[in-house]
């Protein structure tokens, strides 16, 4: 696909998102916000999986940490949403730094199992430390206070107002992740995925770059988590469970592992399919599983990868 098409699609997409915020009903707003929040999670995550080639099964821990960070600061400190997000992201990053420090020593299955172990430790802590996290009931009743800048305030309590708040962070994430992909740091990560031995011989500290990718993806997971708390107004430890860690993996895979827009397309399919199927049957996981099978067995490029392939074939003919 050439550059003009990319600009065209991006412009259409942005216009569509703004139009949804201005005109759509509450359900549409809610679903779109869910898509954007999941996209933030998956875009960050794909920096680790698609770019660096590391499969983490513990990223729900960072998502939940971001969520609890915002919830706790909003309850005990100050309900300012930007402060809450800052605390959520900071907490998720610090945790990612601590966990990543140990995990990046290994790769492949060992890395996946280590992240699973640490993720489940976080999960069981959140489950057991009732006095702080509310145990399995979680924390609830988190309200969306106005964003105050001293003299003037921006309210975000209404759905469409919060929508634009989420949209802002969504666009910011796309911008940042895009910058990271193009930066020397992002290029080194791709090098590590292709051949970590050569990258090491080129004089680069592979482990540190892996840790960097781990922390950055953890920070985005924290951002997604804290935005989700403000949307749903509650959070339970289930958000940190390993089954939730599979979500960004599935989303990246559906969209296309080694593509930039893959997580975006995957999030749309994941959320919309879930909402639609849940209306017709109780068994959305069943149909979702079948879709996954079809992608793994037949369309391994995912939606974006496979579409790009078709585009290429047509433009050649």
């Amino acid at each position: 696909m050439n550059l003009y098409w990319k600009y065209f699609f991006s412009a259409v997409g942005l216009a569509g998102l703004i139009a949804i915020g201005l005109f759509a009903g509450p359900f549409m707003l809610y679903v779109t916000m869910r898509v954007m929040i999941l996209s933030i999670f998956a875009l960050g995550y794909n920096l680790l999986l698609g770019r660096t080639g590391l499969l983490s099964f513990g990223h729900a821990a960072f998502y939940a940490t971001g969520a609890y960070g915002l919830a706790l600061s909003s309850i005990h400190l100050n309900p300012h949403p930007l402060l809450g997000i800052a605390i959520g992201v900071a907490a998720a990053s610090v945790l990612a730094l601590a966990i990543g420090f140990f995990c990046v020593r290994h790769t492949e299955i060992y890395f996946a199992m280590l992240t699973l172990a640490f993720g489940m430790m976080v999960f069981s802590l959140m489950w057991n430390v009732r006095s702080v996290t509310g145990g399995d009931d979680g924390l609830y009743g988190i309200t969306r206070a106005a964003i105050s800048f001293g003299l003037f305030k921006i309210p975000i309590s209404k759905e469409y107002q919060y929508y634009f708040f989420v949209l802002f962070f969504f666009l910011l994430t796309i911008f940042l992740v895009h910058r990271i992909y193009r930066s020397p740091f992002g290029l080194v990560l791709a090098g590590i995925r292709e051949n970590h031995v050569r990258t090491e011989f080129a004089g680069l500290a592979v482990r540190r770059y892996r840790l960097g990718a781990f922390v950055v993806s953890g920070a985005f997971a924290g951002l997604a988590g804290s935005l989700a708390v403000l949307l749903e107004s509650n959070i339970t430890p289930a958000a940190a469970h390993w089954a939730r860690s599979a979500e960004p993996v599935l989303v990246s895979l559906i969209g296309g592992l080694h593509t930039f827009a893959g997580p975006l397309a995957g999030s749309i399919v994941f959320v919309v399919l879930r909402e639609v199927v849940e209306r017709f049957s109780q068994n959305w996981m069943f149909w979702f599983g079948l879709l996954l099978l079809a992608i793994i067995m037949g369309f391994r490029g995912g939606i974006v990868g496979s579409t790009a392939e078709i585009f290429k074939r047509f433009s050649r003919a």
């Binding site: 499969l55 640490f118 391994r300």
Partner: protein, 288 residues
């Protein structure tokens, strides 16, 4: 004090034996096929549900359910290996893990569709119900039965793998696929057989769990698969000996954890897994 120690130990050992039944199949499949199967816990769950259905249809005879239930799951395992898994052996790790994860989603919902979302309760087993007095306290007979079954399975597996012609072929294919195939082993058929056997072991664990847990839920597969993963990883990927001893350790650890420091029950298990992975990533009992 002694009473409660003995009983916590026994509870831990019987819990460990269930984990062992699931983990033995998981580690066998991983050792030979090099695929870590998330859906292995689903076989456990399926085994339990099918066993319950069969035993109800047979007028409450648990032993018929125990024999027939796991056989039905073998058929499911056969189809999964033959028509899906076989095509992802050569792919990257995420694809393999996600294929088996997709199967978890499908199995979980399929069980809900067939048996309903609520939990199903099971009858007691005649002859194995009731309890015995051990150091002055009652202990269920069925748990003692489980404690006996686990080592029997271990010995059976050892004999199969070390003493028979089949075992030699399986070990040969596990250590060198190409060479085994060059000397005439039908590797794909053997992979299918090993996978089906693994599914049978796990379903057997599930069927045995029917009288033990009392209530069957769709979450039971997910709960045990993660413990089995821990066992397989700590024991050394592919090591049956490791899986057996680590199952015992994990069973005891969570039993003592829940008894003495309930705050940290699962936490301890994952700490152990992380420490072992960092210190000896190949696992405690890995060969070579």
């Amino acid at each position: 004090m002694l009473q409660s120690l003995v009983h916590v130990c026994l509870a831990g050992i019987s819990a460990g034996m269930f984990i062992w039944l699931v983990a033995s199949g998981l580690t066998l499949v991983f050792g030979v096929l090099r695929v870590l199967n998330f859906a292995h816990g689903s076989f456990y769950m399926l085994g339990a549900y099918v066993c319950l259905t069969v035993l109800k249809a047979m007028g409450g005879n648990f032993w018929i359910g125990l024999v027939l239930g796991p056989l039905v799951v073998c058929v499911v395992g056969y189809f999964m290996e033959r028509f899906l898994l076989r095509y992802v052996y050569h792919l990257e790790l995420p694809y393999q893990l996600l294929l088996t994860f997709a199967m978890v989603l499908i199995f979980d919902d399929a069980v809900k569709m067939i048996w309903g979302a609520g939990s199903a309760s099971s009858p007691a087993v005649p002859g194995l119900s009731g309890s015995l007095s051990i150091v002055g306290r009652q202990f269920p007979v069925y748990n003692l039965f489980i404690i006996a079954v686990g080592p029997l399975v271990a010995v059976g597996l050892y004999a199969l793998l070390e003493k028979t012609w089949w075992g030699r072929i399986i070990r040969a294919a596990a250590s060198d696929r190409e060479m085994a195939s060059a000397i005439g082993v039908k590797v794909p058929t053997m992979f299918t057989a090993v996978f089906v056997f693994g599914a049978w072991l796990s379903a057997m664990g599930g069927a045995l769990a029917v009288p033990y847990v009392g209530l069957l839920t769709t979450g039971m597969g997910e709960a045990i698969i993660i413990e089995a993963f821990v066992v397989v990883v700590i024991g050394g990927l592919g090591s049956l000996k490791g899986a057996f001893f680590v199952s015992l350790i994990i069973g005891l650890l969570s039993s003592f954890g829940t008894r003495f420091i309930p705050m940290l029950d699962m936490f301890l298990v994952f700490i152990l897994m992380a420490v072992v992975l960092l210190w000896r990533p190949q696992g405690l009992f890995a060969e070579g």
